[in-house]
């Protein structure tokens, strides 16, 4: 029989594990990809500025990565604590677990943001971008402010969403992690675009 890629693909789709993974993942992936693409529209609006101010271009993938990463961490830790009954639903905001999760997340986020901004500018200098103290401070400020605002939003979404999903009896990891990373992607790209429009 002649080799047929279409037939081969059809056979692959019939495989049990393949089918299960495709069925469970495709909608969530499509949803989070579309949300991320909306963030990309914000970047496309300021493409000229991004191509001109190289440190911000270097920041794009890192910003995308970092806020989403914190979203996944907060969501998985909070929901694990909720489901293993380490946490009660009452007085959630004053619970020591939630307060220490917020403190450790925000401290790690601030350090990562400063590292990210500083290294992005250093790499831009290696690429031939001139050093300018005003611009350097702006890169650090953008990285820091965007991180603080977005990590706070992600924290609120993860806690409130976690409580809601827990009440409904669903597995939060299947809903909240894609939602948190989607919001983080969209938010970080939009904040970067807005700041570039505002500054330059």
């Amino acid at each position: 029989m002649a080799y047929s890629p279409i037939k081969q693909l059809h056979n692959i789709e019939q495989e049990k594990t393949t089918n299960k993974i495709l069925r469970e993942s495709v909608q969530v992936l499509a949803f989070s990809s579309i949300i991320s693409a909306f963030g990309g529209i914000g970047l496309e609006l300021v493409r000229e500025k991004l191509l001109l101010f190289i440190p911000f271009l270097i920041l794009v993938p890192a910003m995308n990565e970092m806020v989403g990463g914190f979203g996944a961490i907060v969501t998985s830790r909070f929901t694990t604590a909720l489901f293993t009954k380490q946490l009660k639903r009452d007085h959630i905001w004053t619970h020591p677990f939630v307060q220490s999760l917020f403190t450790s997340t925000m401290t790690a986020a601030v350090i990562t943001a400063l590292y990210m901004g500083g290294v992005a500018y250093l790499l831009a200098i290696i690429k031939g971008f001139p050093f300018n103290i005003y611009l350097f401070v702006n890169v650090l400020a953008v990285s820091l402010l965007a991180t603080i605002v977005l990590v706070t939003i992600i924290f609120l979404v993860s806690i409130l969403g976690g409580l809601y999903v827990h009440k409904k009896g669903h597995d939060p990891d299947n809903y909240l992690i894609p939602l948190a990373t989607g919001i983080a992607d969209l938010g970080s790209m939009l904040v970067l675009a807005l700041v570039l429009l505002w500054l330059f």
Partner: protein
């Protein structure tokens, strides 16, 4: 406990952000190529997120199966291993087509530019990044497990750091091909 959590969180984030900064630097070195391609910035965030999600999920599934003593999971010729690789490949191609369509339509509607090349770039880049990332993810997960490490603690930041670099290299290669 708080200090331990903080240390793990910070280390993982610094590793993944360093990979992402390297990816950003590659973008900076290809500014002349990027500037010729409208719609690319719409594609980039979704492409990076998709690549990371698929590779991280693949690593988590293989790791879970290895922990549950499904020894054949570590063999890429086993049915479980093969089907996981197939699923990851198909998911990446399907999501890339969707991202390419969204980037194409947005560029046309919002910016009035007809750039069908962006769709082709998304598909070619997904193909290249799959060929690199799926074997890297599979082999690294199995290697870590066989050497006594817990892949769950290491693969997340590792996959996102390597994934960003591979994704940007794939996108730039696709641009050169087009």
């Amino acid at each position: 406990m708080i200090w331990e959590d903080f240390r793990e969180m910070l280390t993982a984030q610094l590793v993944s952000v360093t990979g992402a900064l390297a990816a950003g630097t590659l973008l900076a070195f290809a500014v002349d190529k990027i500037s010729l391609l409208p719609g690319l910035f719409i594609l980039i965030p979704g492409f990076l997120a998709m690549r990371g999600s698929i590779a991280a999920s693949l690593a988590a599934r293989i790791s879970k199966a290895l922990h549950q003593h499904r020894k054949s999971a570590g063999d890429d010729h086993s049915a479980f291993g093969k089907q996981n690789v197939h699923a990851s490949f198909l998911l990446a191609i399907a999501t890339s087509i969707l991202l390419g369509v969204v980037a194409y339509i947005s560029t046309k509607l919002l910016f009035g530019i007809d750039a069908p090349g962006i769709l082709l770039i998304a598909i070619i880049a997904a193909f290249i990044s799959n060929i690199l990332m799926i074997p890297i993810t599979f082999a690294s997960t199995v290697w870590l497990f066989r050497h006594g490490y817990d892949p769950d603690n290491i693969m997340g930041p590792y996959v996102t750091a390597v994934g960003d670099l591979v994704s940007i290299i794939s996108l730039l290669t696709a641009i050169l091909v087009i």
